[in-house]
Symmetry: C2
Subunit: 150 residues, 2 copies
């Protein structure tokens, strides 16, 4: 709500950098912290939380939560690419985040709005499921569980 939202600090840049570099992923505070520590530029956890909060306020970053639960994934919001015009698919197996550019979804959104009175927030909504690669993979496998973390 404030024109100039805070100072421009080294830490802010580092975090924003990380966010833009990982624009195709949902990142966590732990992930940022670990990455920066590994790159010789460690930042206090509290700072990361506080900066992310500000970035969310400024609309540069989006926070994903399950209801009001305390746990947070963040994602960079791109000013250019109209992320509010497409949806995100998240593979439950490999964790990949896919940006779905598809007119069908837009139609769905307007249909749901007109017929059901519900205005879908594309930025907030994530479709969970299984991506092509992973479903092909599981067809070839017998019946095991695949555990993949990034």
């Amino acid at each position: 709500m404030n024109g100039s939202n805070g100072y421009k600090t080294k830490q802010r840049d580092l975090i924003l950098n990380y966010m833009t570099a990982h624009r195709d992923a949902h990142v966590t505070v732990g992930g940022i912290s670990e990455h920066l520590a590994n790159h010789g530029t460690p930042i206090g956890t509290a700072t990361i939380y506080r900066q992310l909060e500000k970035l969310v306020e400024q609309g540069l970053v989006r926070k994903y939560t399950v209801d009001s639960a305390t746990c947070a994934c963040f994602q960079y919001v791109e000013p250019d690419r109209k992320c509010h015009e497409h949806f995100h698919l998240k593979c439950e197996r490999c964790g990949k985040l896919i940006h779905l550019e598809c007119s069908f979804v837009g139609e769905l959104a307007s249909h749901v709005h007109k017929e059901h009175g519900f205005e879908i927030d594309p930025l907030r909504t994530v479709f969970y499921g299984v991506c092509r690669e992973c479903s092909e993979l599981s067809e070839k496998l017998p019946a095991g569980k695949e555990e993949n973390n990034e």
Copy 2:
């Protein structure tokens, strides 16, 4: 994986009861704990976690997470109503969970599957946005922030 999954205990019933009573909502361990305590039947937190884990294994309850983050919302899975044939809308303002019965969504799912190779998991996927009531409400209000917690 196991035919008879564990014993039938008072605590299990209490939790399952709560889950079915709140079938239209995402519930948290904290919520269950508080509710049971207020009703004179307090249960240890650890028990709630362990029971929910079992209920998830048995397919009676579904767990929602944000990626691999540690934080959990749960929801009862109804054996009769085919929850896997419809999607859930969640209002970001009032927290209401809406079950959307709509053929359009089914079409979307098959389209995304055919054209984009991604198999959407309806049980897991939640559309976030603003419901009719809340959007009508905000039209009447000047420009304030509405803070609603359940």
